[in-house]
Symmetry: C2
Subunit: 680 residues, 2 copies
Amino acid sequence: MLKEYDCWFQKRTITPSINVPQTVISLHDGLVSAQALKEFVSGIERLLEFKPKVQKKFEEEKSAIFLGLIAGMKLPVFEKGNLCAENCCKSKHTDSFIIKVTNSQIFIAGQNENGLLYGVFRFLSLLALGSLKEGFELCESPVSQLRMINHWDNFDGTIERGYAGNSLFYKNGQFDYDDKRIEDYARLLASTGINRVSINNVNVRHKAKLLITKEYLSRAGKLAAIFRRFGIRLFLSINFGAPWSLGKLPTADPLDSSVAQWWKERAALIYKYIPDLAGFLVKADSEGEPGPFQYNRTHADGANMLAKAVEPFGGEIVWRCFVYNCQQDWRDHNFDRARAAYDHFKPLDGAFDKNVILQIKFGPYDFQVREPVTPLFGDLTKTRHVMELQITQEYTGHQIDLCYLPWLWQDIMNFDTARGEKSRIMDLLAPYKEGQSNIEGFSAVVNVGLDNNWTGHTLAQANLYGYGRMAWNPSLTANEIAKEWTILSFGHAQPSAQKIENILLNSYPAYEKYNAPFGVCFMVTPNSHYGPNIEGYEFSRWGTYHRADKDAIGIDRTPSGTGYTSQYSQKNAALFADPQTCPENMILFFHRLRYDFVMKNGETLLQNIYDNHFEGYEQASAMMEEWESLKDLIESEVYESVLSRFQRQIANAREWRDQINTYFYRKTGICDVKGRKIFD
Amino acid sequence: MLKEYDCWFQKRTITPSINVPQTVISLHDGLVSAQALKEFVSGIERLLEFKPKVQKKFEEEKSAIFLGLIAGMKLPVFEKGNLCAENCCKSKHTDSFIIKVTNSQIFIAGQNENGLLYGVFRFLSLLALGSLKEGFELCESPVSQLRMINHWDNFDGTIERGYAGNSLFYKNGQFDYDDKRIEDYARLLASTGINRVSINNVNVRHKAKLLITKEYLSRAGKLAAIFRRFGIRLFLSINFGAPWSLGKLPTADPLDSSVAQWWKERAALIYKYIPDLAGFLVKADSEGEPGPFQYNRTHADGANMLAKAVEPFGGEIVWRCFVYNCQQDWRDHNFDRARAAYDHFKPLDGAFDKNVILQIKFGPYDFQVREPVTPLFGDLTKTRHVMELQITQEYTGHQIDLCYLPWLWQDIMNFDTARGEKSRIMDLLAPYKEGQSNIEGFSAVVNVGLDNNWTGHTLAQANLYGYGRMAWNPSLTANEIAKEWTILSFGHAQPSAQKIENILLNSYPAYEKYNAPFGVCFMVTPNSHYGPNIEGYEFSRWGTYHRADKDAIGIDRTPSGTGYTSQYSQKNAALFADPQTCPENMILFFHRLRYDFVMKNGETLLQNIYDNHFEGYEQASAMMEEWESLKDLIESEVYESVLSRFQRQIANAREWRDQINTYFYRKTGICDVKGRKIFD
C-alpha cells in the first residue's frame, strides 16, 4: 500500500540480493551516529521485516553489519593500501562514506558522523533498488560542501511561492510545528544528503523580524535540535535593517560601529540558543528589502560586517546575489536586467570575507523555464559562492503541472562556462580555493508544505529527491535519478515503474514547449506566475520584456544591443552572439529575431513557435493518458490525486497553446503551415 | 478656512442677497421636521453668524421664516389658484417642496417631512450661492422616487472598490461606527436628496451573512435610527443562499415552501429591529453569488419569493440585473456578454411582483469609461426598475485620477432610447406605471470611506454631490452641478471658482481620451482596474475582449456579428449598426474596424487613437498646471493633497498614453503622422 506521506521510504518487503546479517555492531557513539543506527534498524525492519540486534561490542569475525567512522574502524578492509578507504579518510571532502559487502559482513563507515548517516541511507536505497551484491564496494564523497534548502515560510503560516499547503514551522505569527513531522522531514532531507536548511523567508517581514529575539529563539533552538540529529544545521534569514527596525538604532549602515556592535551582540545572543547555527541568509537591496545601498555602501561592506559578527561562533553569511533595478521603465531599451548579477558582483570579486558565501541564481532572470546560466559562474575566483536553484515550481507549474526539474538541472550542470579546461558547472563543483572558480554547492527553495504528500503533486516529490541527489553529485543524470526515485517510491513492478519514469522524463520538455518560446521568458501571469499572460510583464517595472511587434520578437543582448553576451567567456560570448550558433532553446533570450528567421529544422521561427505549442499540449495529454493506463496498478488515492492535477495541467497547457499561438497569429496574420486550428 | 471634512457645508460668512428674518416659526412636529429645523438653524448660523429664534406659535403677519408642511400651512401663498403650490400638493411626487421669499417673510414647506428637509437644504444652498432675491419662488419635485446609495462595505472594514479609507460602518467583523460621523454622512446625503442607503456589500460573504441575525440587527437598528432622522431608509444586502448557509435548510430553492417560510420569519425578525426598513438588495447568480439558477428557477421566482416575505412590512426587493456568464471562453466568438442583461430580463418583463424593483447597470458591461446605455431601458413596461450608476471610481481612476462623473451621467440622461416620443432617459424618469417604460430612480455605489475628506480625492466630493443632484433632477447639466458644487465648497472667489469648475469639466474628457479608445473597454489592469493593461482581459473568463490583430480591432455587434445592436429600438439598432452613423465615442463597442477606417475628422482610426492619447495626457497635465496656479488661493492642506493626486494621475496618464500607442504601433508599424514619439 503506497503511502504518499512516506515518499521514498515506502514500507515494502523485498527479497534482498545479498545476505543481511541479523546483528548490527555500532562502533561510534554520537548524536548523528545514534540516528544513523536508528535509521538502519528501522530501514531493515521496513524492507526485510526483521529487527536487527544491536551490539556495541566489537567482534571482528562476527557475521554482522558494522556501523562506524572510517578512522575508528580498525578492520582489514580499511587498511592501508585500500585505495577507496584511503581516499575517503584523507580527502578534504567531509561527509563521505564507504559501503562494503562481503559474504557474511557489511561495513558502513563515514568519514564523519554525517558520512555514516549518508552511508546508511545509501545502503538502504541500494538494498531497496536491488543494486547490492556480494563484494559490492562503494566510496562516495559529496561534490558539494553546501547542500542547502531555503524555506520561504512566513510566520503567518503562508509560504511565498508555496504550493503544497501551509508552513511546516509556523502558524499565526508563532512557531507551531509537530515534532514528529519535522523529524520525518529532516529524514527526507538527510537521506538525499542535505546538510543546511534556512527556516524562514528571505523577505523578512512582520513578525519574522522577531525571530532573532529571545522569545522566538528558544523555539528555534528546539527546532534546530531535531534537525541536528540528522546532521542538518540551520540558517536564519535576517533583515538587514534590523538594527533600526528592531534595535531602534538611528541607522543600519554597515560601516557604523554601533551597527556592527549591535549585530555582534545579537549574534552572541542567537548562538546561545543555537550553538551550531550555520549562519545568516541575507537578501538585501532587492525588491524592497533593505540593504547596504541605502547607505551608499557595497554589498561587500554589508556582508563582511555581518560575517564578522558570526565569525567567532563559526558562522557563515550566505548572501543572495538577486539584486537588480526593479523600478525599470519599459521605454528604456538600454538597461538590461539580465546584466545585473554580473555587473553588481563581478567587481566585488575578492572583496568578501572568507566566511561569506554568495548565493547566485542559476540564471540571470528568475528561475525561468529556460534561461542561460549566469556568466558569474566560472568567473569568480576570489569569492566563495554557490548556485541557487528552485525546487518549488514558481514558474514551472505550481505543482499543478508536472515538471520534473532534474531535466533542467542536468542541462545546467552540463553548461560549459568555457573558461579554462574542465569548465562545465559540474566540473567546477569543489571546495573554495583562491584563484579557482570553484562552486561550493547548491541552495534551493523547497517545494514542501503541510499537505499530506508534502509536495502537493505527489510526483513532485521527485524534484525534492532529485535536488538532494544532484547537489550531492551533479554528474548524476535526470534519467538515473528518475529511475531511482520511481523504484523507491512505486516499487519495481512493471509496467508502472517504466511508465512513471517516462512520464517524469517527458514532463519538462512538454512544459517547456507550451511555455514562453525559445527562452524569451516572462509570458506568465503577473504575481501568481501560473498560466500564460503574454504581455503581462511587457509594460511593467520588472525589466523583463519581449517587445514583440508585427515583425520580430526578443531582446538583442549581443554587443550591438545590451552587450549582455560580453559578460561571458570569449568563446561563449561568440557562441551566444551569433544566432547561427546560439543554442536554439534560448535563442530569443539573446536575440531579437524576425518571425521569418529560419531555424535549424528549416522552418521559420513562427512556425517553430506554432509547432512547439501544438506539440507541448499533445505531450501533456499523452502524459495524462499514460498515467490513466496505470489506473489499476496504483493505489487509488494517489492515482486520483495525480490524475486531477493532470486534468488541470491539460487545461493550462491548452491556454498556453492557444493564447501563444493566437497572439502571434494576430500579430502576423500568418497561418500554421500544417493547417491546425489557431483561434483568431 | 476650507475644511475638507465639511464638503459643501463650509462655514463661510456671506452677505445675504435677501432679508433673512431673525425668527423661525416651526409649524410641524415630527422626527424629520425636527431635523429640518435643526439644519435650518445651524445653516443660518454657519452662513450668517446669527442664531434664529425658534417659535412654535403661528403668527401669520410676523416677519419670520415659516417651516412646515404644505398641507398644514394655511397661508395666502399656498391658497388655491397658486399653481406652484397646487402642483406640489396634489402631484404624486412625494418629497417635493416650495420655497417662497417676500420682503419680510420666507416660507419653506414640504409635501411631506422629507420635502421640508430637502426644502431647507435647498434654501441654504441657494442662500450660499447668492441666488435668492425678493419674490423668489421655487417649487420642486424630485423626478426620481428612489434615490439610492449602495455601500460595498465588508464587515472586516474593507470596502470593495473603495478608494477613500475603510468603512464608515464596520470593523473587525462587527458594526463599529461613530454616531457623529454617521450623522454628518446622513446630512451630506440628505442634502442632495438621497432617500435610501444599502449598508453592506452585495457580495454577502463571511460575517456579513450574520447581518440578518439578532446580534447584528440590534446594531443595524441603531444605525437606521440615525439615518431615519434625515429621511433615509436602509436596505440590507442579503445572500440568496441564507436559508441553507444560515438556516441549515437543505435548500435555498425559492419555490420550496420551507424556504419561503424561512424568509417570512426572517423578515418578521428583521422588521422588529428596523420597522421602516426599505427592503433587501440582492445580487444573485452572478460572479459566484448564489441565486435561483442553482435550482433551475427564474430570477422572477427568486425575487418574488423574497418580495412576499417583506411585503407585509411595506418592504421592497431591489434585484440587481448584473447576471452574465463569467466563465466564458475567449475562443468563442458567438457568445456576447453585452447581451446578457437584455437576454436575461426582457423575457421576464411583467413576471415580477409589484414590490420588486430591478436595478439595471447603465451599460451592458460594467461601469466602463464609455459604453452605450443598456437596451433594457425604454423596453421594460411591466416591471419596476431603476438605473445603477457608480460613484466610486472603479474604472475611472480610483479617486487618484480626477474624473468628474456628472459629465458621463449627463450623456446617459440625454441618451434617447428611441421608443416613442420623449424617450430620452431623463424623460423616462417617473413613478412606475404599467405599460410605460418609466424608470423610477437611481442607485449607485458610493465613493466614501473613513478618509477625513470622505472621498480620498477632495474634488471627488463633486461626484457624490452630483449624483444626488442628478438623481433628483436628471436634466441638470454637468456644468450647472459643477458650478454649484464649486461655489458651495470653495466659495465665490475668482479666479479659483472658475478654474476649479474648468478643471472638473475637463477631467472626464481627458480621462476618456487616455483610456481604452472609442468605447472598446476593458484595457485596464485585471482585478485592480487601475492603469492600463491592454491585453489584461483578452484571454480571460470575463467575456470582455477586443481581439485586436494587425489589421483591426473590436467586436462586431451588428446583426452580422453577435446581434447585440438588435436589442435596441429599430431606430437605434440602425444607428448603431452602421459605422457611418454610430456615435464615434463608442464605435469600437459596436464594430470591428480596420485601423485605416476613416473617422469623421478625415483621419484614420489609428491616427485618432494616437491623437487622443497624446491629447489626453496633455489635458491631464494642463489640469494639474491649472491647479498649481491656485497655490496661493487654496488652503495648503487641500492644495497639496489634490496636487499629489494630480502627480499620480499624470504618471498614470503617461502609462496609458505610451502603452496604448506602443501597443498599436507594434501591431501596425505605422507611425504618428504628426511625428510625435511613440516608443517601440
